[in-house]
């Protein structure tokens, strides 16, 4: 049997180099993302069930608003084309914003304490979990992409654009899931997190460019859309998938910046869940 007690490997130095830290962070992110992929593979029910809501948004809201021409779209593109990336971002948001519930569930079942007792820095754990949420959200994006294509939305199928769109969804989901884990560290119970999640999800969705151009919003609340990372995710998706012009550099910088801040905030409160 090869479970003989051994001294810690020499690599476990007192102050590891930046390269060693980066490699460990990557291992954790890859581990948790791969575990999430395997969970999706073992049980696809959630994937199908979660497809219902975006399908209804596209089928009912999208089709109706296309018919009444209520929303003036840039360059006069069909409303369903305009709406589809917004619904992709929304369904990813809905998955990520409740990810903190999973952390509380893992706390209750001892999984979190066991993970925290491995040589995994808290920031690496939160980053790993947030990218795992991104993996789940990306699977949702694929479902909405297929649904939209069936409904006649004309996408740019350039593989590089699709990959970049998936990256935008992963990074935005990393922000929203870390925000959720931060709130979990504050409120500590599933019930409270559920309440807060429900309270902020719709405002986040409506105070963005997911359903309509920001220019249509009253000037007094337009700033909400500009500080809302969901807007940058939707803008990036529209540029990459349906060719609407936007500054991708600004979009990705906003998404990456907000994700780093949220991960740092969630990491600082993770210890509260382990007490």
């Amino acid at each position: 049997m090869s479970v003989l007690p051994a001294a810690p490997p020499a690599a476990w130095a007192e102050r590891p180099s930046v390269a060693v830290r980066a490699r460990r962070l990557w291992t954790r992110v890859a581990t948790m993302s791969l575990a999430e992929l395997r969970k999706i593979r073992h049980d696809r029910t959630e994937l199908y069930v979660r497809a219902i809501q975006p399908a209804l948004w596209l089928l009912i809201f999208g089709v109706t608003f296309s018919r009444i021409h209520a929303v003036p779209t840039p360059n006069g593109i069909p409303y369903l084309d305009y709406l589809s990336p917004g619904i992709m971002a929304q369904s990813a948001l809905f998955i990520a914003i409740f990810y903190g519930i999973q952390i509380i569930w893992e706390r209750d079942f001892g999984i979190l304490t066991k993970l925290l007792a491995t040589p995994t820095p808290r920031a690496a754990l939160v980053t790993g979990k947030s990218f795992a949420a991104g993996v789940r959200a990306t699977s949702q994006m694929v479902v909405v992409l297929i649904l939209s294509a069936i409904m006649g939305v004309s996408f740019d199928w350039n593989p590089l654009h699709l990959l970049a769109a998936a990256a935008a969804v992963v990074i935005a989901s990393a922000f929203f899931s870390s925000l959720s884990m931060f709130i979990a560290g504050l409120v500590l119970t599933r019930e409270r997190l559920m309440g807060i999640g429900q309270a902020i999800t719709m405002p986040l969705f409506f105070a963005s460019n997911a359903l309509y151009p920001v220019a249509l919003m009253p000037a007094a609340i337009r700033w909400l859309a500009y500080v809302n990372p969901l807007s940058y995710e939707v803008a990036a998706l529209r540029t990459l998938l349906i060719g609407l012009p936007s500054n991708l550099l600004v979009d990705f910088a906003a998404l990456i910046g907000s994700a780093i801040v949220a991960i740092a905030a969630a990491s600082s409160l993770l210890g509260r869940l382990a007490r």
Binding site: M1, P9, K114, R275
Partner: protein, 267 residues
């Protein structure tokens, strides 16, 4: 074997608000022994374990694992630990193998060794045949053995088991005891376990510390503690003699919830 104690606690203390959960305890665990922290719910056992696993810092005192301070050398301490928490902490949405494989990666086991380590750990716990099944389909005893397999992948020098048989039926409990005995026999690994089952401590431990209300009331080999009390004495009698029997808490809501949740997952 080394002369450095596996665990060395000095005047360790931790408080939740005004409640001193751990109230200035000192004890050593010698390398290679099975040491038990015994006591009823709320005695301070799990808080002590949380300090030793670096999850919380002590408010006072120090704790060292093989000479490394748990506050200042967190990552190095964690690298030496195998830890099985009180709750049944496997991920039911992953297979047995995937649960263990995940920990080979989290402990930075070299890529080429991951599969072998995971398979060896599963085989040593008698789970080779069930490795491909979703862990949600495992029985309570199998889940505990899977957790032991997870805890072994980094070849720990110290295995920490927090209430390893809580919520398990007698057969599953016996199978966990056998695996701990087997590990100890085959590897000489140091084991620190907490339990509130006196017969478990009697069966498994070389030495025990009896904890009550955050303090250690007695410490020594189970046989020596019983002999000191008189012929026919049990560990329960020893415990009653060092505490006021009627003074024992019945456990907080949190303790009861943990035990029921664990029992609920076992089914």
């Amino acid at each position: 074997m080394t002369d450095t104690p596996a665990v060395e606690c000095r005047e360790l203390a931790y408080a939740f608000g005004t409640l001193r959960a751990v109230d200035g305890i000192s004890f050593d665990v010698r390398a290679g022994e099975v040491f038990g922290l015994l006591g009823p719910n709320g005695a301070g056992k799990t808080t002590t374990i949380r300090i030793l696993t670096t999850l919380i810092d002590p408010a006072e005192g120090t704790a060292e694992i093989f000479g490394l301070d748990t506050t200042h050398h967190r990552m190095q301490v964690r690298q030496m630990l195998g830890y099985v928490p009180q709750q049944l902490s496997i991920d039911g949405q992953l297979t047995g193998y995937e649960n263990v494989w995940m920990f080979t990666r989290l402990f930075d086991v070299p890529r080429r060794e991951r599969r072998t380590r995971a398979e060896d750990a599963l085989a040593s716990m008698g789970l080779a045949d069930a490795a491909g099944r979703l862990a949600a389909t495992y029985s309570g005893g199998m889940i505990r053995r899977l957790e032991l397999a997870q805890a072994l992948v980094n070849r720990p020098r110290l295995l920490i088991l927090d209430e390893p048989t809580i919520g398990l039926d007698p057969v599953a409990r016996r199978s966990v005891w056998e695996r701990v005995e087997q590990l100890r026999g085959e590897t000489g690994m140091t084991v620190l376990l907490t339990t509130h089952y006196m017969e478990e401590a009697d069966a498994l431990c070389d030495r025990v510390a009896l904890m009550h209300r955050g303090r250690i009331r007695a410490m020594g080999a189970p046989a020596a503690l019983k002999d000191a009390l008189g012929p026919g004495a049990t560990l329960e009698d020893v415990f009653a003699s060092v505490t006021d029997d009627h003074d024992i808490d019945e456990g907080s809501l949190r303790d009861v919830r943990v035990a029921r949740r664990t029992a609920g997952r076992v089914g």
